[in-house]
Symmetry: C2
Subunit: 705 residues, 2 copies
């Protein structure tokens, strides 16, 4: 089976694009393909409705409005950070779940921002005009940054909407995305993590699955539930095998437009470094969690995130280590490269420029990661310290000259996170920081002058403990409100920040010159790559026209696919497209209900009753489709032709991880929680009748006979 | 507290040697210090009795004879490999424990060898004579290897004992150790892992502790229990705070004689690489274990070993990253170096030669690890393939020219392991091999010709699966006995091995030239280091005389110390030297009995009865002393002045890990299971009356009033 699957991927790669490939821009939807392949002709209204019902989680993830009162559905694991931050030693929402009895009981989340895409404007010409072709990389980078900041600031002033110029096709196009922003978001309902993530790390990225990976939040405006013009209605009838479905969400990142040089760097350097980091954190959080129940509670969401990230990257790396996949990409690139280099004649090849720029980046990869990506300073307190330091320094500069995340148009979003009331646990922060300072010493060498200065004569553990104990740049669990100096320091400006004796701020100051320097090196090389990719993209547009889509960039995209099992029905190895609640109970029993295959207490208690109900047992729980998704699509609504909600994406299977590099519909599948299954659980297990009524409105919830 | 402790370490380092420092050779015991400090004067008979009662586990670890019928006590975690190998899907000895009802029920362990040191002979002069001072490193290495093999072969022929020439003082001395060997070893009693390792990774290397980390085995000869002339008797009265104790065991490795250049390499390169590897394995085994109860059973012992190794190395690294510790070593070395270089005048400094040799080793560190240390080929099947390949190739050479582990005198021990009947699980072997092949590609780069040849056109997972499925070089769980081709291939010799189409053997052949080449580079550099260390040692002997001890080398050593708590009694932070069973129950309750703080079913059931018994609750369970120990001492007997067994070492606390580099008695402690506590558990919890009678012989077991 595995060999056959790979052969199909290779074929798909060679022809560039399987049948249902694509993470399409809403302003360039695949209308022809949909009409041709599925006889489907989405109208502009249909598209706008889906677009404006779709929700982006600034923390990473997707969702959708599902009532006119601002009710939002997403995944439990997308909301896990919120759940963790709202929990305490006496209230573990992440583990135990939550259901608001009334709207008054809905709990405000910390530092969560939701965005709804309002409009898209192509600003490519304006950006390109501002960057003359012969400018050296460092100046070109500055010029582009400046014009993007100007466009964003103008748009924010004109519309009040969050405004982001996004880079598409690695620099081939620039679009201005305007989004309505919600920053008062409250928790409505979450199941227990045990049923949301039944099967844990073992079943993650697998199918069949049995996960109630959903969470309901509500957007508020002016202290009242937000009245939204667009929301998805719950489907009146269930989706079935072979049906066309659409997925609207925010795929985070793909590498399909990368050159071979970039893929090699990803494969041999960046992914191994990522995995090394994640393995390290997994051991760290695992050890911390084993200290006791409260420590386990504090580290749970982090541990989940780390394991999830580890398995995802292992999947991408496994794909890149398949020699046939890289060989197929090599063949395709050789053809495109020859064509382009003939056309450009004597100019330096864009492919060569990318290769050289990648080498320059790779040469500082480890240094970049520990200093600028701050894997050497792993603490929320340090992150706050750096943000405060840079915020006041950058704001003293003209908007267009700042590090991009400090532009005026991003200020509100940045401060929402910076001033998060999330409680920090000093024992956990100390463990993270001690571990990362140890890593810093390994990467730079313990005798490196910067490391010597950072450790200040102490071993990492003692140094971390004194930094964490001494800082006041966060909300320390159990501390008085005035212990937190974040707002005062930002308000005090550059003078206050430079003269502060907060030890974490002193540490941020100590390393900032070197961190900025290595970032500048990487930014300049990325500029070279971006210009070269622009040259490649121009040739591609000339050849392919608009029948294409850019790599994922955590902006809203439309994907479509078919509900379809894996393999051939009736043959060995066939996997059906749907699982049911009967399957959940069967799997729990097969694994003797040992963790991570244990059911939450509520489910264990109700099990005899639920198992006596054939209709419940047959209810679809999870299903798969061929839609083209990737990380960031978690929580994306799945809709039918009528635009009604039929499911919520929560995972891709292990074969889908290669979608980072290339689409394949042989075995790769998007995994969703079935809308009917969600309602069945809300009614039968949780008795959440008010929620069901709000979701299903005037019509009856869908039922499986 | 931490700062004070460190200051004391630094002071100890500066003066070279705290009061109770030392892992002493049995042929050079610290008689003067014992007499002077403790008024203790061990006689030659006393020493010989303790020496010959001490047992070395070839798998790594220590133990002691505790009856005339060959009964051996060690740690549960030293025997964990045996317990794992004897387990099956239907019998989990590691988790559930074991008690043989009669001697007929004792179960033979797989591939376990026990050694008892019979005699030590100084062969330094003969070794040095065989290696003229001006020989180039590669030839010097060969000459030394040859003379050592000859001495060993002669000794084996003359005495029939296992004979090993061991290198002491990094090459300053060479001693011939003769050991009696037991290879028929049977399992008598093991408690549940849950009580042996109560507190798990969280409590590992900590104190207070509550662990019944013991296991009883029996040595057999000619099918009957071995009659041994020396065994330790159970102490008649309990040990107490302030008492002098002796520890006889096999500390594995220390770095106290390393130069600063070597310590830097350890700190900045080798320990970080070790930790990266262990983190990787921890994620791997953790993920495998989460697949279900049977997978958890298969991976349990590996997971324990990896977590234990990770925490130990983190402790050593933390010590090396304390700038004051390295600075103190630097000061001491500068003085010794200046003295030595003045004496040697114009000759190249031994310190400089070591530094250069270390650089040469470090330059190939990653390559050495993946190819020769085989971290790129992590499978028991691969280990067997390589051993078979090299065994037949090396045996074609004269004994003295072979890779050291293939010398004739080691043949029986090597084959005991090579032909182990331990069952191998293909899913686990595939997971390990796929992970390590991925690591190989990251280290060498996926386009490296050797990697391309190794992967043979497949991604790592598929390649690993086909290698594991195709090989016949091990006992595959559930397979017929004739599936296993190990003995046939070794018997077939070079022709059979070179022409075999076993895929794992083909893989071993494919990489062997490059693996041997990188080993040769490392061996040559190590030879340079060894000669230089010899020069340094000569100067040290001239200065210090015999009042010294060499770095640990997994040979039998005598340590001594005082039973002593940490800190000052009555002051905050004071830790008493003893824990009790009352403390065990209190800690389980404080942690809500969540794993790893849950008690085994037997203990849970008996708890009400045990808690009603004040005498049992007050029984000492674990205790600490200042004896100088390190990894490898696990299972070492602790004896009182009378030479009676009072405990069994099972751990050092976190502060003891720096003992790798330097002794300190401020906070570093050796942790032991109390002999009285062992008997109390055997009687009251396990009803193991026959075992207690055998241990305590004619006298009553010790009791706490």
């Amino acid at each position: 089976m595995a060999r056959w699957a790979v052969a199909a991927v290779v074929a798909a790669l060679a022809t560039r694009g399987g049948a249902e490939e694509g993470m399409w821009l809403y302003n360039a939807p695949p209308l022809e393909r949909l009409a041709h392949e599925h006889g489907a002709t989405p109208t502009p209204e249909w598209l706008l409705h889906l677009q404006r019902s779709s929700v982006r989680f600034s923390s990473g993830g997707s969702g959708a409005f599902v009532s006119a009162d601002g009710l939002v559905i997403t995944n439990h694991h997308v909301a896990s950070g919120c759940l963790q931050k709202l929990s305490s030693p006496t209230r573990d929402l992440f583990h135990d779940g939550f259901a608001a009895a009334t709207r008054d009981d809905e709990i405000a989340c910390h530092d969560l921002e939701l965005n709804v895409l309002v409009s898209i404007e192509d600003v490519t010409d304006r950006v390109k005009r501002a960057v003359p072709p012969d400018l050296p990389p460092v100046e070109a980078f500055a010029a582009r940054r400046a014009v993007m900041a100007t466009i964003e600031a103008e748009s924010l002033a004109a519309t009040g909407h969050r405004s982001d110029v996004v880079t598409l096709y690695q620099g081939g196009l620039f679009h201005l995305y305007r989004s309505k922003k919600y920053t008062d978001v409250r928790l409505v309902f979450a199941p227990e993590q045990q049923i949301a993530f039944f099967g844990g790390d073992a079943d993650n990225f697998e199918f069949p699955r049995f996960n109630l990976d959903v969470c309901f939040l509500r957007a508020y405006e002016n202290g009242a539930p937000a009245r939204v013009d667009h929301h998805l209605t719950w489907a009146r009838s269930p989706i079935g095998e072979g049906d066309l479905v659409f997925v609207s969400g925010h795929p985070g990142h793909t590498d399909r437009g990368d050159t071979i040089a970039e893929l090699r760097s990803l494969r041999d350097l960046w992914l191994p470094l990522d995995l090394e980091h994640l393995n390290r954190l997994e051991a760290l959080f695992g050890a911390y969690a084993s200290e006791g129940p409260e420590e386990r509670r504090q580290a749970s969401a982090d541990l989940f995130g780390v394991q999830n990230g580890r398995k995802a990257r292992q999947g991408i790396l496994a794909g890149l280590l398949d020699p046939r996949i890289v060989a197929a990409r090599q063949t395709a690139e050789s053809q495109a490269r020859a064509r382009l280099e003939r056309a450009l004649d004597s100019e330096p090849s864009p492919y060569l420029r990318i290769e050289e720029a990648q080498e320059a980046i790779d040469a500082v990869a480890r240094r970049y990661r520990v200093l600028e990506a701050a894997t050497g300073f792993n603490s929320a307190y340090f992150a706050n310290a750096r943000t405060i330091l840079r915020a006041v320094e950058e704001r003293a500069k003209p908007d267009g000259e700042r590090l991009r995340e400090y532009r005026d148009s991003n200020r509100a979003s940045l401060e929402l996170r910076l001033f998060s009331p999330e409680p920090l646990y000093d024992a956990l922060e100390t463990a993270k920081l001690a571990d990362s300072l140890t890593h810093l010493a390994a990467v730079l060498g313990a005798d490196d002058p910067l490391v010597v200065a950072v450790l200040d004569g102490q071993p990492p553990r003692a140094r971390a403990a004194s930094l964490v104990a001494g800082t006041r740049l966060g909300r320390r669990a159990g501390a008085a409100a005035d212990d937190d100096r974040r707002r005062a320091l930002v308000a005090g400006g550059i003078e206050a920040v430079r003269s502060s004796d907060d030890p974490m701020l002193a540490l941020a100051r100590l390393i900032d010159d070197e961190a900025r320097a290595v970032r500048a090196t990487v930014d300049a090389a990325n500029e070279v790559k971006q210009q070269a990719h622009g040259d490649i993209a121009r040739e591609r547009f000339a050849r392919e026209g608009a029948a294409s889509y850019p790599d994922a960039t955590f902006t809203l995209r439309l994907a479509y696919g078919t509900v379809r099992g894996i393999g051939v029905a009736g043959e060995p190895g066939h996997v059906s497209a749907f699982t049911t609640y009967a399957g959940l109970f069967a799997r729990a029993s097969a694994k003797r209900e040992t963790p991570p295959f244990d059911l939450p207490p509520r489910w264990r208690e109700l099990r005899p009753k639920l198992e006596a109900d054939g209709a419940f047992l047959r209810t679809p729980f999870n299903f798969i489709s061929t839609a083209d998704i990737i990380g960031g699509n978690s929580g994306s609504p799945v809709v039918n032709r009528a635009g009604e909600l039929v499911g919520v994406i929560f995972d891709g299977n292990i074969d889908s991880l290669i979608l980072d590099v290339a689409y394949d519909d042989t075995r790769a599948r998007a995994v969703a929680v079935d809308a009917g299954g969600i309602v069945a659980a809300l009614e039968r297990v949780y008795g959440a009748d008010a929620l069901v009524a709000e979701l299903c409105g005037s019509h009856e919830p869908p039922r499986i006979p």
